[in-house]
Structures are given as C-alpha cells and as structure tokens.
Point group: C2
Chain length 198, copies 2
DNA sequence: CCTTTTTGTTATACTGTATAACAATTGTTT
DNA sequence: AAACAATTGTTATACAGTATAACAAAAAGG
C-alpha cells in the first residue's frame, strides 16, 4: 500500500498518476461545480482505473487540498513582504505584484473562490494572512483603540480576499497597477487610520 | 402531490410537517456539519416517514434555503435603514441595533457562516447588502476616484459579514454598543474616506 | 359521515463509495 | 537480460444514500 500522507515518492509511476489526477481535477473543476464531481468521473477523465484513486487519496477533498496548497503557498510570501512595507511607493508596487501573481495563477484562485467545498482551506489561508497583518498592525495601534488587533487583522485579510474575488469576477479589471493603489488606500490606509486614533 | 415551491398551505398537517422538518434540520446542523447530514437522519430526528421529506422538499439544500431565508430577510431591513443614516450618533445606534439583532438570532447566523454548503445563499445575502451600500455610497464618491462604486459596495458588504462572523466566533464580545462604534469607524468612515478623495 | 388529502409502510431501482483478489504492466536491481 | 518488487488494471462485491411507486392508514373539511 502507498502512503496517502506522503506525496513525495521516488517511483515515477506514482508521481505520474498523482499528477494526472491533479490535472484531471483542475480541468473538471473549471467546467463544473466541485460538489457534482464523482471519483468515477475523475478517473475516467484521467484515464486511470477507479481503484487507483483510492490508492493515493482518501477523498476528493484531500486531492483538492493538495492542488490548492501546492499553488497557494507562495501567495503568503508575497503578502508577508508586502505587510512589512511602510514606504508608500513600495507599498503600491508590492500591491501590484500581488495582483500580477494572481493574474498569472488565476485558474487556481478561481477554484479557491468558486468551489463551495473549500471553505476549510479558504479559512486556513485567511488565518495565515490575518496573522501577518496583525503583526504589522500591532505597533501602529493606539493603546486606547476600541478595535482589537485580532479584529483589525481579520478585517484586512477578509477584505483582501474579497477584493481578489471581486477582481476575478470582474475579468481582472482594473489592471494590477491600479489595484495596487486601491489595495493600499481601501485596505491598508483605511484600516491603519481607523486603528491609530481613539 | 404537494407543490414544492409553495410553502404556504392551509392544511395544518402540511404546515406541521414542514415546521418539524425545519426544526429538525436546525437542531442537527448545530450539532454536526451540514454536509454529513442525510435525509434519513433528518426524518428520523423529525420522527417523520422518509418519503415524506421528498413530498415537501427537493433536497436538503432547498430546506436549508427556506430556513435561512425565513430568518435573514429582516437583517436586510436593518442594514437598509442603517445605510441611509448620515448622522454620526444615529449611525452608531443603528450599528448597535444590527448586532443586537444578530445576538437574538445567533443560531441562524452561526448556520449561515458555519455550513460549508451555503455559499450560494451567503452570496445572495452579500449581493443584497452590497446593493444597499452602493446606493448610499454613490453620492459621496469623488468623480475622479480610482475606486468603482460597485467595488466599494462589495468591500463594505463583505467587511460587515466578516465582522459579524468574527464576532460570533469570539463569543459576541465586545458587546453590541461597542460593535456599533467599531462598525462605524472600520467600515463606514474608513470606506467613505477612501472613496471621497482622488 | 363521506370524500379528499396527507402520511406511513413496504418494496425496488439506481448512483456513488470503498475494498478484495488476482492478473498485467512497469520500474529497479543485480 | 533476467529476476524481483512495486504499481496499476480488471472484475466482483458489499454498502450507504437517493429517489420513486403502490397501497394501506390516518387526519382534515365539508
């Protein structure tokens, strides 16, 4: 039996099968809703035996998780470097880089927002982003502010994800340059302003 | 056969059955995840014949929809009266009323946020709230603002829902009075400020 | 009290998940 | 190149959950 928790295997057959299954799921999920996809449908698309799926993944959810985690990991890196900026010009540039990155991997982000069944994964991403913002927000906080730091972090994180989702639904317009500016004003400046005063 | 699209029926047996099914779903959904609830489980809990469910609803989704729509309708009314306010004092009071209302119907809102399968319903609620904010935001908008009105409305709506969700997860603390103030500053003032300038 | 409607009981078809046993194929090692 | 090990494919089967049909029992309304 193959370990279902260890995706890294030296056997080329295993790597091939897992890759084919991932690709098949992505192609299916961009066509129809995740909840309506069956394992049989997936293995047919992947041209792989039905039972082979179970030899690698516990469920479709687990496969989807692998697909998303694979691609979403470095979004956090982008946001982290961005959150550390305090210089206005650099803040806008880093904001632009985020939206350019999303543009490049838009298929993946569409899946993250479209699928109704990835709420759990989305929540994990949210928690990570929120933690990053909290760190950069804490020193700016007014000591008597009525807004808790955790709340401010959550506000910025959810706002960013919502902005990204809105942008994807609107055919990625306006372009990243302008989105960088909007991001700075609507999320960073606005929240920091609300948090700095009493 | 009973019409599945007309919930209002004079027959007391029908009203009773539908009410029992709604209550059974609520009690189940507060115990476990919606996705893991089967129709058999529901009818057992409701002490109703299995087939009776299909005589009234097309799917568990449809039943959940009815449960949520029933209770969420007047949240929109609250938000609408709130969005029309421009007076600072009244804005905070109306904000407080929203969170007091959520406190009263917290079970319902927990379901809205908890269930992974209600993304569609949540999206409908979001669209409605967004439309309300857009209307009240449009006249304040600077003509040369880089932020589209639809984006601002979406930002305020998602922020409000995220704030409510965060609040429920944090045992409804701080109390509604303070949440009203936070709402005003973090969502209304911050967004209006971002939208008014160039 | 009699008719209509709803609900319950039982049986059945169907879809999708999950696993087992064994054959066929592919990769690795000597 | 041959031998061995691991993976994949084929076929069969058990099982849970959805969905419907036919008929009996119960409840509602005139």
């Amino acid at each position: 039996m193959i370990s279902k928790t260890t995706p890294i295997k030296s056997d080329p057959r295993v790597r091939r099968t897992r890759r084919i299954l991932r690709e098949a799921l992505i192609s299916l999920i961009l066509e129809k809703d995740f909840a309506s996809i069956s394992i049989r449908e997936l293995t047919d698309r992947a041209d792989v035996a039905y039972i082979t799926f179970f030899r690698h993944y516990e469920s479709l959810d687990a496969l989807l998780m692998e697909v998303l985690e694979e691609g979403l990991a470095d979004l956090l890196v982008h946001i982290e470097t961005l959150a550390k900026q305090s210089d206005t010009a650099r803040l806008e540039t880093e904001g632009r880089l985020i939206f350019e990155y999303i543009q490049k991997k838009s298929d993946l982000f569409r899946i993250l927002f479209k699928s109704q069944s990835v709420a759990r994964i989305r929540k994990t991403v949210l928690k990570n982003i929120s933690a990053i913002f909290q760190k950069s927000c804490a020193p700016l906080q007014h000591p008597k502010s009525p807004i808790p730091v955790r709340m401010a972090g959550n506000h910025m994180a959810t706002s960013l994800l919502a902005l990204i989702e809105w942008w994807l639904e609107n055919k990625m317009s306006p372009p990243p340059v302008q989105m960088g500016k909007i991001y700075k004003r609507l999320i960073i400046d606005a929240t920091v302003g609300a948090v700095m005063s009493i």
